[in-house]
């Protein structure tokens, strides 16, 4: 299958590109190095060293495996880039990771909020238009986020919910109350994609993904040049990955507030499995389907205790700290999100275990000297600075 990976230089995008290539698919990756640029600006970096440009990574992949990954360094908000690749490569599937992926980044200030929404919404609109006009039979596999739903007091269904109301009934998009300007951008995308499928007969799968953890896949371990990035800073690092780095360098685990915030989680190797399952079992023409992509639910404090316990067995002392919560969110709430559609397609989950955490410790230890401790504590506040009160 000809598979186009948008955001192919990222944590999941690069790992996905190698996975499909390894399985014999024809793969082309696009990336504009947005994540690398944001790190340069902030003075942060991936824990794992990313030793080359995207073309150099593809060359390393070819050297190690003999497989080719085509690459384009370019921006999805630039129509000419996307149009040229779609006309030439004629993708059958488009796996779309190509967005600004950070909630804190989107909350830094007005400019970052506006950038995040324009970048994500317009990039995805361009993808929809390219599908409409160039590859109408291609299947879009779009990475959304479980964070689109927020924390409703009822069970979270997979994208749609049957509502019985005053004696009538309809199946409608699941209502959304996302928690950041970034999460909002994904909600906007979902609405735009649903519309494009309905109006133009496109096919799309929206993968509402949970928080991903893990550092290695079958392909990343083949050679140091093939490592994928691993972020642990307050802007791009996700909960478990951050905690594991904190544990290894002896920093207290930064649980925001009470830590009762419950979310869905999955291992990076299950992300690859899910994306592969969605791609190989495409949506019908005109169908907009939504899968909730995670394998287990944890509260933040449960995660922290798992890491603490694994540390005990591994021989490192791990302190759990309840820090000020920079976000505005419920710290105790009901959370029960359905996630059976990918299991029905054959997903075999790799659940979180202390062994896995310990293997993450070991992988992190190899790059321990690269950790920049200044960027671990949260700095981005959801609330505006307190206003000076005027004298009476």
């Amino acid at each position: 299958m000809r598979i186009l990976i948008l955001g192919g230089d990222g944590y999941l995008g690069w790992a996905t590109a190698m996975r499909f290539s390894n399985r014999g698919h024809e793969v082309h990756a696009i990336d504009n190095y947005l994540r690398r640029t944001a790190h340069w600006e902030a003075g942060t970096d991936s824990l794992t060293p990313i030793l080359g440009s995207l073309p150099e990574r593809a060359e390393a992949w070819r050297a190690v495996t003999g497989f080719e990954i085509g690459v384009t360094e370019g921006d999805l908000t630039d129509w000419d880039v996307l149009e040229a690749v779609c006309r030439e490569f004629e993708p059958e599937a488009i796996v779309h990771y190509g967005e600004m992926p950070s909630a804190p980044y989107s909350m830094i200030d007005r400019e970052h909020a506006a950038f995040t929404q324009v970048n994500n919404v317009i990039g995805t609109l361009n993808v929809l238009w390219a599908m409409r006009d160039i590859t109408p039979d291609a299947h879009l596999v779009k990475l959304g986020t479980m964070g689109e739903y927020g924390t409703p007091n009822i069970d979270i269904e997979e994208g749609f919910i049957e509502i019985n109301h005053k004696g009538r009934s309809d199946v409608l998009p699941y209502p959304k109350k996302p928690g950041s300007m970034y999460h909002l951008s994904k909600v906007h995308d979902s609405h735009n994609i649903e519309f494009a499928c309905r109006i133009w007969g496109l096919r799309a799968t929206d993968l509402n993904q949970g928080v991903v953890y893990g550092i290695e896949t079958e392909e990343t371990v083949l050679d140091p040049l093939l490592a994928t990035r691993f972020d642990y800073d307050e802007v791009f690092g996700t909960a478990l990955n951050r905690f594991c780095v904190q544990a290894v360098i002896g920093h207290p685990l930064t649980v925001y507030g009470k830590g009762g915030q419950t979310r869905g989680y999955l291992n990076i190797v299950d992300t690859l499995q899910c994306v592969e399952l969605a791609t190989l079992n495409p949506a019908e023409s005109g169908e907009f389907r939504v899968f909730n992509q995670f394998t287990e639910q944890f509260s933040v404090v449960e995660l922290a205790y798992h890491v603490q316990q694994a540390g005990r067995d591994y021989g490192i002392e791990v302190e759990v700290d309840h820090t000020h919560n920079p976000r505005v969110e419920l710290e105790e709430h009901y959370y029960n999100a359905k996630h059976t559609k990918l299991l029905d397609l054959g997903l075999k989950p790799h659940l979180l275990s202390e062994t896995l955490i310990e293997s993450m410790f070991a992988a992190i230890e190899r790059h321990k000297d690269r950790v920049i401790p200044d960027h671990i504590m949260p700095a981005t506040e959801w609330r505006p600075p307190a206003r000076e009160t005027s004298p009476a």
Copy 2:
């Protein structure tokens, strides 16, 4: 009250600015002439002549009434413009009409779709940031559209719906399935505004407005220089206004398809009443409330028959034509939308009558020579052009 009108040069914005000024409020209007520019580009124009720039209209208003309306010619997507006005004028209410308001415009091509979404979403994001940082107690009165809801098979509630699901219950944002890139932009706005109220404690009222008809208000009739614009072309004209112009010039009424598309409608004088009621009865701090702003439901073909009947009494023959539907939408569907919240605040509806339609005929006849018939038939297709099938 100090009231800032965004989009104060438009059909409703200009009429609203005069209304509030006439009631003794301090009014400032911002507009970037987006509508005028789009008309210039398309070779279309308002039926009523708009004889001056926004400053010239404000000057005419002062000459006729003695009241001042402050004006700024500028773009809401330009932060500096909005920041300067908010710092200087310190609005207590912000009435936000300042968006690209046309579904067909947003469906012309990729560029128009992207422009519509960026213009509307970023303009509104800027407004939210200005409120957060400059006027946190101001009340946002935002013009949304009933088109955000689409045509669900259950009753449409006002913004939120109580969902009972698997033994639990929550009140959540009403699910949306909008029908164009423009309507989607308003859905995106609604999500962003709900978030800003929840996170920053802002206060906002989202007015999901139906289709507005009518050409005159108490203020527009005071002097020809005070007329508000009146669009009848396929891009900016709305159903009843278009039908009345078609009737007057002897053009068959262009009912798209079967004409069973049912929507909410209201008279422009009721728009002014609703916006005034929402403004004088503000939302609480942190509250995001939604009012459905219309007074009656009609199907398109019902509207056409009303115009035909009024024509008979007025002495003009009106033909009803079922033309090709350029949109992708259901032409027969359930539709029952609640609209009691504005009635509860005191709205006294001016319902559609043949007398009203006849008075619109009379007003239109005065400008009959200005009609450009070339732009009455729909030209903007929701579907892409048919693809050439390759030879077997």
